[in-house]
């Protein structure tokens, strides 16, 4: 495409490797550019020389393009205050520079070999870094508020709805394409495609199957079994009733051999509580009775309950000696320890299961057998219990 505008400055011309601006001998449409002509100093440029009327006006044919009006004012309205603002902003940026260097220095200078050293390092690094950002932020804000001239421009909003023609055109193109693709015209294609995509969509879901094993019956049981000793958690020592003899005592117990097994502890952790004679509300049955403590499962007024709250599984360990309440600190489910840990407040719906205990030949507390009901939070497959 030939360039048809003349003039020393033509903003729309493509630089096609031809004559340089100001030397092009182009004055009218369609003329091929000739080789550059040398100009004698003093003579007017060729374009002007050709035109008898002088340079064409901007915006007309042959003239330069209309110079765009300046879009935004160059300077803020209040120049003296802008000068002040400039100094303030510069000061802010200088502070930021110093702070940035300070950060680098602090990183090198402050070690982290003790907790106290970490504290100092955190202060030093944090202060310098905050100062960098804060100073830059304040500087930038003052800059935009006081140094950049204010404008409020208006432009139109076009309705977002496309014009009817555009919509029609879209519809035509889309339908043409759909028609051409044959997917509507050939139902066999379409139906077999749909059929193929169904298993393909199911495949990723199938791949998730091995995320975990099926629950099976594993939630119904814990590792407690006949003869397994109760260990005092922490020291992990077995317990004689004679050692745990102060009424009002409570301690966390774990099954022997599982003290480091979190999967086991998450269900098997229990607490034992010592009562004075006559405090516990006994039943002589060998199975849980609502509101009662199974006497056969206690030893010397020591009763064992599951520590896993029946609400959502937090350890329900808070024991109040005076009221014999077991309180779970998560959602405040409260259980009455002398009445079979039945629920007296809070969202839990079931009592804490009682762990059946006895003593073994060496005199240590052991389990008689596993809990007779699933411990911990409720689940769908859990049937009725106490």
């Amino acid at each position: 495409m030939t360039d048809s505008t003349a003039g020393p400055r033509s903003g729309d011309s493509e630089h096609d490797g031809g004559p340089l601006p100001g030397q092009a001998a182009i004055g009218s449409a369609g003329t091929e550019p000739t080789e550059p002509r040398k100009r004698v100093i003093g003579t007017p440029p060729p374009a002007q020389a050709r035109s008898m009327l002088g340079a064409p006006a901007p915006g007309t044919v042959g003239g330069p393009p209309v110079p765009r009006p300046r879009e935004l004012p160059a300077d803020p309205a209040d120049l003296p205050s802008a000068k002040r603002a400039e100094r303030v902003v510069a000061a802010c940026f200088l502070i930021a520079t110093v702070a940035g260097l300070g950060f680098i220095a602090a990183y090198v200078i402050f070690p982290v070999n003790t907790v106290l050293a970490v504290q100092h390092s955190n202060w030093a690094l944090g202060l310098t870094m905050s100062l960098v950002f804060l100073a830059l932020a304040i500087g930038a804000t003052i800059w935009v508020r006081n140094l950049i001239p204010h404008v409020e421009l208006t432009e139109a909003r076009k309705p977002l709805r496309s014009s009817d023609q555009d919509r029609e055109a879209f519809k035509e193109s889309f339908e043409a394409g759909t028609d051409a693709s044959q997917v509507v015209r050939r139902p066999l294609l379409r139906r077999t495609l749909i059929a193929a995509s169904v298993p393909a969509a199911l495949a990723p879901i199938m791949l998730l199957r091995d995320l975990g094993p099926l629950p099976g019956k594993s939630l119904d049981h814990t590792v407690w079994r006949k003869g397994l000793r109760l260990l005092n958690y922490g020291g992990n020592t077995p317990i004689r009733p004679g050692d745990f003899s102060s009424p009002g005592g409570m301690i966390t117990v774990v099954p022997d051999g599982y003290q480091d097994d979190f999967n086991a502890l998450a269900k098997a952790a229990s607490i034992i509580i010592k009562f004075a004679p006559g405090q516990l509300d006994f039943t002589t049955a060998n199975h849980p009775v609502p509101g009662k403590v199974v006497e056969n499962w206690t030893v010397d007024n020591i009763v064992a309950y599951s520590k896993i709250c029946t609400h959502v599984g937090c350890p329900a360990a808070l024991y109040e000696q005076t009221t014999h309440h077991i309180l779970c600190p998560c959602h405040q489910s409260t259980f009455d320890a002398v009445r079979g840990a039945k629920v007296i407040f809070g969202p839990a719906t079931r009592a804490l299961p009682q762990l059946p205990m006895t003593v073994n030949a060496q005199g240590y507390l052991v389990a008689r057998h596993d809990f007779t009901e699933p411990v911990g939070p409720s689940f769908w497959e859990r049937g009725s219990t106490s």
Partner: protein, 564 residues
């Protein structure tokens, strides 16, 4: 000048390949309406950027593994103890890596600010009606972003495997387990078997650093692009109409302002991380399923779920050998479900009730939509009561109130407070509308008292300035449904509104659009921002003797209709 050189050098190199001049010029010249509330979404965005930056740093040091190791490090109190690698590596980041603690704290503070800013932004959008057409899709995207933010935070603070977040994990597992039919399967699949297992931390890690950030980037990109394409809304003010955009161009104004905001967000989170400790996992200790602390709460944005769990009375059904653990899955699903579903459906419900299907680009002042604002605050107070109940033991301890009493108060408050909030907010909005109308009708009091020849004293008023006029003037009411003349009382409703759904809709419309009428018309709070010309209010110099019968009568006249 060097700008010319840069543009003709690099600039034209790029333009030769991408034809960007026209497109980028439009980007530079795009106008951005200005109001401080429009910056809340940006605060959220920049918090997200900070999370990405600090998160990348943390990911270079964190080990997402539950393998047991023995700790030997700077934090000597726990020396020799067994703990998971995840916990040990977090201790290492905090104590053995220079700047590690700072980065960890910035990451966590930025996460809290992220969710707080999303909440503030979401409420701003709701109360100004910026979710209306054409922005319904963006509102829905925003709700998804909010939910993702909750999940991302939950997964993030659980990664160190400390006692506090581990307790939260146990609760999550218990809740999951309680879901009917599929609960146990979901729990076993998520945890790779029994709780706690060895898979949950690595799985949360990949969700937290890959999957959810991926969704975030895509959805935030869409959210911003839609806003860019549809152009931002603007606050009612002089010169702003529903068919224009008034503001300053992106280059340099918005570019500099948004950079300043980003720097402020970074400064704020860094300041917080320097001076205020957050999530001191070394105090909490490594997770152990048989240990728990009093005063265990999740991060604030999960607090209302925690409160729902605490507030719920013990309620379950056991039928035919199966347990419906209502006490667990109702609090887990119902409050969040109600709020999210209501929020998602709201723009469409409002459109259906009011019949308003126009484009809205001028924000409402919250007082001009009294019912909507009241409903919003009722929802906020519902959320707030549950959130406070999540901290019930901390409240009981520090304010010396019996523990169970706090829960009982919350159980009552969760029903009573939203109703009260609705009523009070509505009255306040209507009151503010009356105040605005008074200003429009009587003008601004100048404090100049004149005595008339008859002996009366009057206060001079001057008309409201143009700026304030544009703000105070009420948007034009919607055209009334066909079949009724303007101002006609509804003795005979139009055919569609006589029975069934139509009647319900008409009733809801009346409640939703209730507002103090302007100049005696039945006006509603919906509509686009037209200038004051239609109302003819406030332009004249109105003189009324204060305390005179005319003044009182004027008040009575102006406010007699439509006020309950």
């Amino acid at each position: 000048m060097s700008i010319d050189r840069a543009l003709s050098g690099t600039g034209s190199w790029l333009d030769d390949r991408f034809r960007g001049a026209k497109g980028f010029r439009a980007v530079l010249r795009k106008l951005y309406p200005d109001h401080w509330t429009f910056l809340l979404g940006e605060v959220a965005l920049y918090s997200f950027v900070i999370l990405l930056l600090t998160g990348t740093f943390l990911a270079l040091f964190f080990k997402p593994s539950m393998t047991e190791v023995v700790y030997h490090g700077v934090y000597t109190k726990l020396d020799g103890l067994k703990m998971s690698e995840a916990y040990a590596s977090t201790l290492k980041i905090s104590f053995d890596v220079r700047g590690g603690l700072l980065m960890r704290q910035i990451h966590h503070w930025a996460a809290l600010l992220f969710v707080a800013a999303i909440l503030a932004h979401m409420l701003r959008i709701f109360f100004t009606g910026a979710y209306r057409k054409p922005r319904e899709v963006n509102w829905l995207i925003g709700l998804v972003l909010f939910t993702l933010a909750l999940l991302e935070g939950l997964f993030g603070y659980s990664l160190p495997d400390d006692l506090l977040s581990g307790a939260g994990l146990r609760i999550t597992q218990g809740v999951l387990q309680s879901i009917p039919v599929v609960g146990t399967y979901l729990s076993f699949f998520l945890f790779g078997g029994q709780y706690p297992g060895h898979s949950i931390i690595p799985r949360f890690y990949i969700l937290h650093v890959l999957l959810i950030p991926g969704f975030f980037l895509a959805l935030i990109g869409a959210h911003i692009f839609i806003m860019y394409h549809q152009k931002h809304t603007q606050m009612p003010s002089k010169g702003r109409t529903n068919t224009n955009v008034v503001g300053a161009p992106a280059w340099p104004y918005f570019a500099v302002k948004t950079t300043a905001l980003f720097l402020f967000v970074f400064a704020a989170t860094t300041l917080a991380s320097t001076f205020v400790q957050i999530n001191p996992i070394w105090i909490y200790g490594p997770y152990n399923p048989l240990a728990i602390s009093a005063g265990s709460q999740p991060d604030f944005y999960v607090g209302f779920l925690e409160g729902s769990l605490r507030i719920m009375p013990a309620w379950q059904w056991v039928i035919f050998g199966h347990t419906f653990a209502f006490n667990v899955f109702i609090p887990a699903l119902l409050p969040l479900g109600i709020i999210m579903t209501a929020a998602a459906l709201w723009p469409f419900l409002e459109q259906w009730i009011t019949g308003d299907r126009r484009e809205h680009h001028i924000n409402d002042r919250p007082r001009n939509a009294p019912t909507r604002t009241a409903l919003g605050l009722a929802a906020v107070s519902f959320y707030g009561v549950l959130w406070a109940e999540g901290a019930n033991d901390v409240i009981a301890q520090h304010f010396n109130i019996s523990l169970f009493l706090v829960t009982w108060i919350a159980r009552v408050a969760v029903f009573v407070v939203p109703v009260l909030a609705y009523i009070i907010t509505k009255r306040i909005c209507l009151g503010l509308q009356i105040k605005d109308l008074h200003l429009l009708e009587h003008g601004v009091e100048t404090g100049i008292i004149r005595q008339l020849p008859s002996g009366e004293f009057i206060e001079e008023t001057r008309p409201v300035s143009d700026e304030a006029l544009a703000k105070l003037a009420r948007p034009a009411p919607l055209p009334l449904p066909a079949g009724r003349a303007d101002g006609e009382e509804e003795d005979v409703p139009p055919p569609g509104a006589r029975r069934g759904v139509g009647r319900v809709k008409a009733r809801l419309n009346k409640v939703l659009t209730e507002s103090v009428p302007v100049n005696g018309h039945g006006a509603n709070g919906q509509g686009d921002g037209h200038g004051p010309a239609e109302h003819g209010a406030g332009a004249e110099h109105v003189r009324a003797a204060i305390g005179s019968p005319e003044h009182e009568a004027q008040d009575a006249d102006g406010h007699s209709g439509g006020q309950e």
